[in-house]
């Protein structure tokens, strides 16, 4: 517990000193908020019919940013934190001091999760969902996706040879998971291909709210998201044990 507390505090303090990381938590809600403002029916210079269309599509656009956050924001974040601590040998000093990899990962992942909770509620509020029930469903789906992203990002952080390599490795994952659902809106094949991925299902839940074309039963989307969490969790555990984080330190 002491060890977890030490890492959590370190990571929390570091977050506010690390502009790049912090931006990843702020930029997506900010763009979502900006889109909300632009889509306001009273916005100067926007013809009323277009404004109306924008307003109708608003929750969808805002929540699309949430999907991108889960994919493109979080995965590189957690990967770079871990890769940096390995590369700078901080993790070695910590592990020599007796910190177990699991305490380290819970501390680092815990901060990411906590900040993601704030981002998630920001998205929920900006999207101005129709009911408390919708907000609850969104938060549940989003936080499940956050956990999946943390597993995936942590796995990449452990596997990567340094911070530079980590950012290279997260790129494809982030693009597929972050951009895929967006492309899927316009292309049926991409939609089919993206079905097994958690960010696509996060997006599908959003579609469910607005009655979009991809609307699938809620339980199905949640089942796929939790399936992702499970698979990534197991993969993470395998990497974690094989790579013996302490040895990589």
């Amino acid at each position: 517990m002491r060890h977890f507390k030490a890492i959590f505090r370190k990571q929390f303090l570091d977050l506010f000193k690390n502009i790049e990381l912090l931006m990843n938590f702020i930029i997506y809600p900010f763009i979502a908020w900006l889109m909300g403002t632009l889509a306001s029916p009273n916005f100067d210079g926007v013809p009323p019919d277009i404004a109306e269309m924008l307003v109708a599509g608003m929750p969808n656009m805002v929540l699309m940013m949430a999907t991108m956050f889960a994919g493109m924001g979080l995965i590189p974040n957690i990967a770079s934190v871990i890769a940096e601590d390995i590369e700078k040998k901080s993790l070695r000093v910590l592990s020599m001091a007796g910190v177990k990899p699991i305490s380290y990962l819970l501390g680092v992942g815990g901060v990411t999760f906590l900040i993601s909770v704030f981002s998630t509620f920001a998205f929920g509020l900006i999207a101005d969902l129709a009911s408390a029930r919708e907000l609850l469903i969104f938060v549940a789906a989003m936080l499940s996706a956050v956990v999946a992203s943390i597993f995936l990002g942590a796995m990449i952080g452990i596997l990567a040879r340094g911070q530079q390599a980590a950012s290279g490795l997260t790129m494809p994952a982030a693009v597929v998971l972050g951009f895929g659902p967006m492309l899927a809106q316009f292309n049926g094949t991409v939609r089919t291909l993206m079905t097994p991925f958690y960010t696509q299902q996060l997006n599908a839940i959003v579609d469910y709210f607005v009655g979009g074309p991809a609307a699938a039963p809620l339980w199905q989307s949640f089942a796929i998201i939790w399936g992702n969490v499970l698979v990534l969790g197991i993969l993470f555990a395998v990497v974690y044990r094989k790579k013996a984080l302490a040895k990589r330190a």
Partner: protein
């Protein structure tokens, strides 16, 4: 019973046979110097002793759990964006120590007034001293110092020597590496000279100098080394 020992240790990186049968022993409560030119395998020996590397063959023994060890390594692992104090608090929390101990350690290395400074903004010397404060925070049984005064000005280095002696007097066993022979002569109770993957000489640094009459040719151990290796220090 030695506090640290190595017996006939071999270690290669690919074709590069770095250690070719190293045997050494460190007594409890002494300052032990591991001397050799850069690339001779000093850091490799430390990494083996702190169990971050495994030797290809031979036995090693370090009479301490990893959390009873204090470390000052080339890559210091400091959290660059955090302040001096916040870096220390991470380890204070890990070890469950009172704040007073952290302040004491910082004051000991002369960083009492720099608590709020961000590590990135520290000079090289201050950074080294912070690493030393972190290394001694939990009053470790054994201290491994890898080139503790490299790239430091002589005055800062002298401050660090004083601290190292003080730590020994408080009961820590200290193994340090250096390629600075003069430093070793003045600081260490015992030294070994590492060359070509083997220990080529060992003992009290002043005795060794006398044995090779080195104080008359080149200053101190440097002269011994030149004699022993035929002048090829690098």
């Amino acid at each position: 019973m030695k506090t640290i020992s190595m017996n006939n240790v071999h270690k290669a990186f690919g074709d590069n046979q770095v250690l070719k049968g190293v045997t050494l022993g460190v007594n409890s409560g002494e300052i032990f110097g591991l001397l050799g030119p850069s690339g001779s395998g000093k850091t490799t020996i430390i990494n083996i002793l702190i169990r971050q590397l495994t030797a290809d063959s031979g036995e090693t023994f370090t009479d301490a759990e990893s959390h009873e060890i204090g470390l000052m390594l080339e890559q210091d692992g400091l959290f660059n964006r955090l302040s001096v104090m916040d870096n220390m608090v991470v380890f204070e929390t890990i070890y469950g120590l009172p704040r007073a101990r952290t302040i004491e350690a910082l004051e000991k290395v002369g960083l009492g007034d720099a608590q709020k400074t961000i590590v990135d903004k520290l000079s090289k010397g201050m950074r080294q001293r912070l690493v030393l404060a972190r290394a001694v925070l939990h009053k470790p049984k054994i201290l491994f110092l890898d080139e503790p005064t490299s790239a430091l000005d002589p005055l800062t280095a002298r401050g660090i020597y004083q601290l190292i002696r003080q730590l020994r007097d408080e009961g820590s066993t200290i193994l340090l590496t250096t390629h600075n022979m003069e430093e070793a002569t003045h600081l260490c109770d015992r030294v070994v000279l590492l060359h070509g993957g083997k220990i080529i000489e060992e003992g009290d640094p002043h005795e060794i100098c006398k044995k090779y009459d080195a104080h008359k040719t080149l200053p101190d151990l440097e002269g011994v080394f030149v004699q022993l290796t035929g002048g090829k220090l690098q």
